[in-house]
Amino acid sequence: MESVETLVAHIQALSGSPEDLAQLHGLLKQADGDALRAHSAALLPLLPQLHPAAHSLGYLFLLDAFLSAPANLKAHAGGDLLATVANFLVSCSAEQIRLSPDKFLNVCKVLKSEAMQLNAPIRGIAPLRAAVRKVQPSSEHLTPLHAEYLTLCLLAKQYKAGLSVLEDDIFEVDQPKDLFLYCYYGGMIYIGLKKFRKALELLHNAVTAPMASLNAITIEAYKKYVLVSLIQNGQVPSFPKYASSTAQRNLKNHAQIYVDLSTCYGNGSYSELETFIQSNTEKFETDNNLGLVKQVLSSMYKRNIQRLTQTYLTLSLEDIASSVQLNTPKEAEMHVLRMIEDGEIHATINQKDGMVSFHEDPEQYKSSEMVEHIDSSIQRLMALSKKLTSIDENISCDHAFLMKSGRERGRGFDYDDFDSVPHKYF
């Protein structure tokens, strides 16, 4: 039975080469458990003897042992502990901590709960972002920390901070639950930024992800999905056929009122929608979706005005007001003005005789910016299709896949079995 001091000495000595680290990892694992836990309270003073970057692995074990005792947390409640942990997360070495990801996750979770307890979620954002980057093998990997990080961003209302993580495309997932949470929180962040198209993508992923049984995250995501679809597109698409049958069968039952809302929206009558929302305010409020629901309501004006631009070249403000059910031409003018400012319609208002002239989209696809934009899309898509080809090759060489498709081939040759890419793109 080694004492804690010897352990610290070992850590200091064995944090250099990878071989040493492997040995140290073995030692630490032996020591972990009763030995470290028994002395957990005494571990904190020892930490300054270690360097968070150079001795990350040892530091991590000691810190985790210390933090996993609730009594210690209580005794050191306050900002100092948070600062220590945050400092460790920012400066630790990625290679070392990846030897023991579970412990690292624990430490991060403690940081998050501490930050929330102090009512200062913003203090957790920077260290957690660093932690996410360190624990990810590549930017395509989803880690359990993603969801934790996004929660903090949401709570601190630092939506822009969330983007740094959300802008990476995620392909590799270990735990489905992580993905659901990531999509849900990510969707909420995009909603906060009013980037509804991106929000829709994430929520769509949460709703259509394969699942064996229904979960609460999906239900909540579906509710928001319905609302955001209405705001963005004016209608809710039906489930694509790749959505799991569980979702297709059950989701609507759990979000009946939202389905009703979308049918009501489809009727196109503002006053009807308003009464529907008013009579169900409570339910929307308990779901914390009332704000979004209100945005759905005001999006109806926009949609109706947009529809007018397709139909008319000129229209008086009065006619606009009456056809979109606004009370006065003045209000109509406000709405039209705001939409012109936001680039949602192309129009000019003639205040002299109260006429609005609608124009066609002035984009001529001739500017150099547009060419650049198109070029970058092409590059992105080429990279994507390369990736697709390589994955296709991987799958066609996959043992399990060949076994299964070989068996199916016995029943008759079906070309579709070998098509991993949706047909419509070819």
């Binding site: 495309d169 995620i170 392909f171 590799e172 997932v173 270990d174 489905p176 639950k177 993905l179 993508e201 769509h204 992923n205 259509t208 992800a209 394969p210 699942m211 064996a212 049984s213 979960n215 790749y242 529809r307 397709q310 139909t311 008319y312 070249l313 000129t314 229209l315 008086s316 006619d319 005789d353 006429m355 002239s357 609608f358 066609e360 989209d361 984009e363 001529q364 696809y365 934009h373 198109i374 899309s377 092409i378 992105r380 898509l381 994507l384 299709s385 990736k387 697709l388 994955i391 399990a400 991993s420 890419v421 949706p422 793109y425």
Partner: protein, 445 residues
């Protein structure tokens, strides 16, 4: 100024009345009532179909003199045909308004029912005798007799069953056709048009060459079935294919005038201009039918030669009578609406810009009403144009192919990107799920 304001209001009132369906337009209908000659109408038809048609007119026309006239004829007809059910219906609706001769006669009803019962028993014993002897042809005749008997007395579903039963005893294709014709007749009266379509195709599939009269009957019946199931285009095709041999041979179901009206309206509502030319205007067979109803012939010609105003006027004149047609009344509003939309669309098609005032004149409506109609059609993507509401001019819209292509390409690109990413993600999840399941027996989400 005041006068001008009143016109749209009147037009609006006319439209709302029109949309309200039969009941609404029945109220101010003295004009139509005078136009409709019940006796002449009834003379077009033979057999049982007169009864429901007359009763229908009585119910819908809303003018007492016509109502009573129709009821009187229905009453007489029912008495002759010994249809006690409809007799009671007619007598109750007359309600003593035509004097003592038209009061409900319970004694007569009882006598008729008793006689019918006896006849039925006789027919059934005969049939059982045939069954015992296993003579197929006689059994078939027996069932046919029972079917005829039920049909004569207005028990349609029993008649239907009897006719269906003859199916097992048909030995020649002639019998099959006869069976089909019976079933079609009864089904039309029952209002079960799915059967009609079925049995029409069954009759058409018989190997022997069919009589042209039978073919014409089958086409008319099929057209009727498609009309009732709201497949107007198919209905138009069938009516237009109906041969002139039909004549008044099928007047227990449909009069040749009806074929002309149904066919023309369905065709106007659903055909495009070239089809209209080749299948209606130049169709010699169908011209024979159209000659029977000159108003309809006129309106088809008006429509084809783009005299929409007079076409719509003709339609409006015919409307109140057509609303009293037992088959057409339900579909009249839809057909009229479609025809009107077609007319508007065709009017705008050749122009780059259209002055709404001239157009409103051509359609005999106000500018503001027309603008609304146009707006609705543009929203439904039926007209590719935009309205200059300030100068009251409609401008055709020429899509910029180049811009549209760019837009579509970019959109497809971003959709592709999004879908592929989502797909890869799902594929990975599934792979993961697969691994988890093969590692441990179960996994909780």
């Amino acid at each position: 100024m005041d006068v001008e304001c009143e016109v749209p209001a009147a037009a609006a009132a006319a439209v709302t009345n029109g949309l309200g369906g039969g009941e609404a337009s029945a109220a101010p209908a003295p004009l139509s009532a005078e136009q409709l000659d019940v006796e002449a109408y009834a003379a077009q038809y033979l057999g049982r179909t007169r009864l429901p048609r007359l009763l229908f007119i009585a119910q819908r026309c809303g003018v007492e003199s016509i109502e009573l006239e129709a009821l009187r004829m229905a009453h007489d007809e029912a008495r002759i045909r010994e249809d006690t059910l409809l007799y009671r219906d007619a007598a109750q609706r007359i309600d003593g308004r035509l004097g003592p001769r038209y009061r409900y006669d319970q004694a007569w009803v009882d006598a008729v029912n008793r006689r019918a019962e006896q006849r039925k028993e006789k027919l059934e014993t005969e049939l059982n005798g045939h069954k015992a002897h296993l003579i197929k042809e006689s059994i078939r005749m027996g069932y046919n007799d029972i079917g005829d008997f039920y049909y004569g007395h207005g028990h349609l579903s029993e008649a239907f069953k009897s006719y269906i039963r003859t199916r097992d005893y048909c030995t020649t294709s002639k019998h099959v056709v006869q069976m089909c014709m019976h079933v079609i007749l009864v089904s039309i009266q029952l209002g079960q048009f799915a059967h009609v379509t079925n049995y029409v195709s069954k009759a058409e599939q018989t190997p022997d060459e069919l009589d042209p009269i039978v073919i014409a009957k089958l086409r008319a019946a099929a057209g009727l079935a498609y009309l009732e199931t709201k497949k107007y285009k198919l209905a138009a095709r069938k009516f237009l294919e109906t041969g002139p041999e039909l004549g008044s041979n099928y007047s227990e179901v449909i009069a040749p005038q009806d074929v002309a009206v149904y066919g023309a309206l369905c065709a106007l509502a659903s055909f495009d201009r070239s089809d209209l030319k080749s299948k209606v205007v130049d169709n010699i067979n169908f011209r024979n039918f159209l000659e029977l109803v000159p108003e309809v012939r006129e309106l088809v010609n008006d429509f084809y030669s783009s005299r929409y105003g007079s076409c719509l006027e003709h339609l409006e004149k015919l409307k109140s009578n057509l609303l009293l047609d037992i088959h057409l009344h339900e579909h009249l509003e839809t057909l009229y609406k479609d025809i009107r939309h077609k007319a508007i669309i065709q009017y705008t098609l050749p122009f780059i810009s259209v002055d709404l005032n001239t157009m409103a004149d051509a359609f005999k409506t106000s500018v503001s009403m027309l603008e609304k109609e146009l707006a609705a059609l543009i929203t439904e993507n039926k007209i590719n144009a935009r309205i200059d509401s300030h100068n009251k001019i409609l401008y055709a819209r020429h899509a910029d192919q180049r811009n549209a292509t760019f837009q579509r390409a970019l959109q497809t690109g971003s959709e592709f990107e999004r879908d592929v990413k989502a797909m890869l993600l799902r594929a990975n999840l599934m792979k993961h799920d697969f691994n988890q399941r093969s590692l441990s027996g179960q996994r909780k989400m």
